[in-house]
Amino acid sequence: MSTREEKERLALLQGTLDLLILRTLVFGPQHGQGIARAIQQTSEDTLLVEHGALYPALQRLEAQGWIAARWGTSANNRKARFYTLTQTGRKQLVKESTRWRRLSTAIGRILGPEAKEG
């Protein structure tokens, strides 16, 4: 990874990773590597997903019953563990998104309008 990428990408915050995983799964079942790719792509490469950090998060979400997992076959014919959003997971996503928006609005207010300097 080049220096530029490392500097410019934002590391994920603990709470947001859960939210992003749930959000990604709205579009259908996906395996861990696919989730990592999707987050990176939809954020236009601004978010850095530490792949290793994804799995503890997936474990946690699964334990809470927000996602369910089973082994399946990937598009290029590889065995992979696919995650699906559960009904409670959907509700959680709504709750988490609202909370996140509220939080980011609040933080936005504290930080004030964007600075204009180049």
Partner: protein, 570 residues
């Protein structure tokens, strides 16, 4: 840490599948099998360690708690004083790294390489749950700075593909990042130009690169004029400083420096790199001795990690913290007990056994209002600076040592104030309780308290230099140093008062004083040069002047915050 029902083998299979998918994707992007494998592994990091690092970093803790607050209903905390925020920390210290050291000659070399004295070159690794690996970048600085067995230790890693543009056709090249001392440690000389300079490993230094001789011949026609030219890697410019022979290790088309002051080398960073570390043993040091030293250093880091994590929870505002560790041995226990006593206020250990301990925080803003605490903290640090300078004049090592020890007291105030501020930013009623009016005040005080803390560090630094300045050395200069210190301290003291009283006039006067401190610094430095003091003493005095000047400058930072806060909120 992981779900109980699921077997570890299933989890490992999932990770394996992940790596395979990622390797295939990278291969589609044009990486070789080997590069793709390495890159996938790198992007993955280490899951156990990943989780731990995440929690160790207080920056993330702050967010995490903000999130948990909603669950806990922490807003109740202020309203019902009986409610306590509880945290249970499990320190997975037992999964910390084991270290191993191999002789480079035995373990790595397939054919003899032109390294100097290869018998003393060793390869140092950490072992994690996922099997033998390299070393985590965050652990490397401790190995580098705190070992006594290596003459030199260097690292490399981060090998990745990059698009080389600039002169000629764009092409895909392999780039490896190396610490600046690596090649010279191995005894590898550049074929043209020069190797990296130490300064090129500092963050903020201009980007520089070394080219592989093969690339140089094929792509640049072995033109020596490429040295001093800029090439572009993934669009970023790098100044070419030299060419390395084609057969050097680690192999790459282009090498760029790793800066050891970059984020990935900080223990607080949630991100890191996997690095390969190679060291040159001091003459006569056995591999087994080096092995046990690195092991010890790594364990020390675990202790540090435990303490840092504990302090993070204290700062975040938790009242009861339960610390659990499978390796809560007497060593760790006494270390934690002692460190907590020295660095935190009002923490009582209410339970302790072989698996951990439970603590409760008993003191809060009711015991010591925030402004009072800041005032007392700045009195302590002012006293430290004064005594450090007195110790310097008298050549009194005892007094100097006592100044250094007082830094703990500063830490206690510092942590206490941070905790109150952390609690306050989340709760309006606490803001008023601690005597501030808005969240903006909290931000200002947060910066100010850091500056006060730094003044304490500089006092300790001056005290640490006392033994470097020997008696009789520039007696006249010492008088001037004392004068400068008095001026710096006045600037600092007035600044703190201006903040506490929101006195704009006083703040501006303090800022003015800082300018005079700077002039005095230049004057004394000039006189010292003229006196032809011996170089060691001169060096020490220069550092002392620098620290004393900083005291004033931190003061002026605080005064600026004071001015900012005198302006009404929009």
């Amino acid at each position: 840490m992981f779900g109980r029902k699921r077997p570890v083998s299933d989890f490992n299979a999932e990770i394996e599948a992940h790596l395979q998918l990622e390797i295939e994707r990278l291969k589609e992007q044009g990486l070789s099998e080997q590069e793709a494998r390495a890159a996938a592994r790198r992007a993955f990091g280490n899951v156990m360690h990943a989780e731990e690092r995440f929690y160790e970093s207080s920056r993330w803790l702050w967010w995490d708690h903000l999130r948990q607050d909603v669950h806990f209903g922490l807003r109740m905390l202020a309203k019902s004083p009986g409610f306590a925020a509880v945290a249970i920390l499990t320190l997975a210290l037992a999964i910390g790294a084991n270290t191993a050291i191999f002789s480079v000659v035995d373990a790595v070399l397939l054919r003899p390489l032109p390294f100097i004295d290869p018998a003393r070159l060793v390869w140092a690794t950490e072992h994690f749950a996922f099997g033998p690996s390299t070393v985590i970048s965050a652990d490397f600085p401790a190995w580098k700075d705190r070992n006594h067995v290596f003459e030199q230790i260097a690292a490399f890693g981060g090998t990745s593909g990059a698009n080389l543009t600039g002169a000629g056709e764009p092409s895909r090249v392999t780039v490896t990042r190396v610490t600046t001392g690596l090649f010279s440690m191995l005894g590898l000389q550049p074929a043209a130009g020069r190797a990296f300079l130490p300064a090129e490993g500092k963050q903020g230094h201009e980007n520089v690169a070394l080219l592989n001789e093969t690339l140089w011949r094929n792509r640049f026609g072995a033109d020596p004029r490429i040295i001093g030219e800029t090439i572009r890697l993934d669009g970023v410019g790098y100044l070419v400083v030299g060419v390395m022979p084609a057969n050097v290790r680690p192999q790459a088309d282009v090498w760029t420096p790793l800066s050891l002051d970059a984020d990935i080398f900080s223990a607080h960073s949630p991100r890191w790199m996997m690095l390969a570390a190679i060291g040159r043993l001091k003459p006569g040091i056995e591999i087994s001795k080096a092995q046990s030293e690195l092991q010890l250093l790594t364990q020390e880091m675990d202790k540090d990690a435990a303490l840092r994590l504990f302090i993070s929870y204290y700062l975040a505002g938790y009242d009861i913290v339960r610390l659990r560790s499978p390796r809560y041995d007497p060593g760790l226990r006494s270390y934690m007990r002692e460190a907590i006593r020295r660095k935190l206020v009002g923490i009582e250990i209410i339970e302790e056994n072989a698996n951990g301990m439970t603590t409760q925080c008993l003191s809060g803003y009711a015991d010591l209002p925030l402004k009072k605490a800041l005032e007392r903290m700045s009195i302590v640090v002012s006293g430290m600076v004064k005594d450090a300078v007195a110790a310097l004049r008298a050549g009194d090592d005892g007094l100097a040592g006592e100044v250094v020890a007082r830094d703990d007291e500063v830490d206690r105030f510092y942590h206490f104030i941070l905790r109150q501020l952390n609690l306050a930013v989340r709760n309006r009623s606490i803001i008023e309780d601690i005597g501030l009016t808005s969240a903006r005040d909290c931000l200002g005080y947060r910066l100010a308290v850091k500056s006060v803390e730094r003044v304490g560090d500089h006092a300790a630094a001056v005290a640490g230099l006392v033994s470097g300045v020997r008696e009789g050395a520039a007696e006249k200069a010492m008088k001037e140093v004392e004068k400068m210190s008095d001026l710096s301290l006045k600037a600092f003291g007035d600044s703190v008062s201006s903040l506490l009283r929101l006195d704009r006039k006083l703040a501006n006067e303090a800022i003015g004083l800082t300018r005079r401190v700077k002039e005095l610094d230049e004057k004394i430095s000039g006189e010292l040069l003229a006196l032809k003091t011996d170089p060691d003493t001169f060096g020490s005095i220069k550092l002392i002047l620098e620290s004393i000047r900083r005291v004033g400058e931190y003061g002026s930072d605080i005064a600026e915050i004071a001015v900012d806060l005198t302006v009404k909120e929009p």
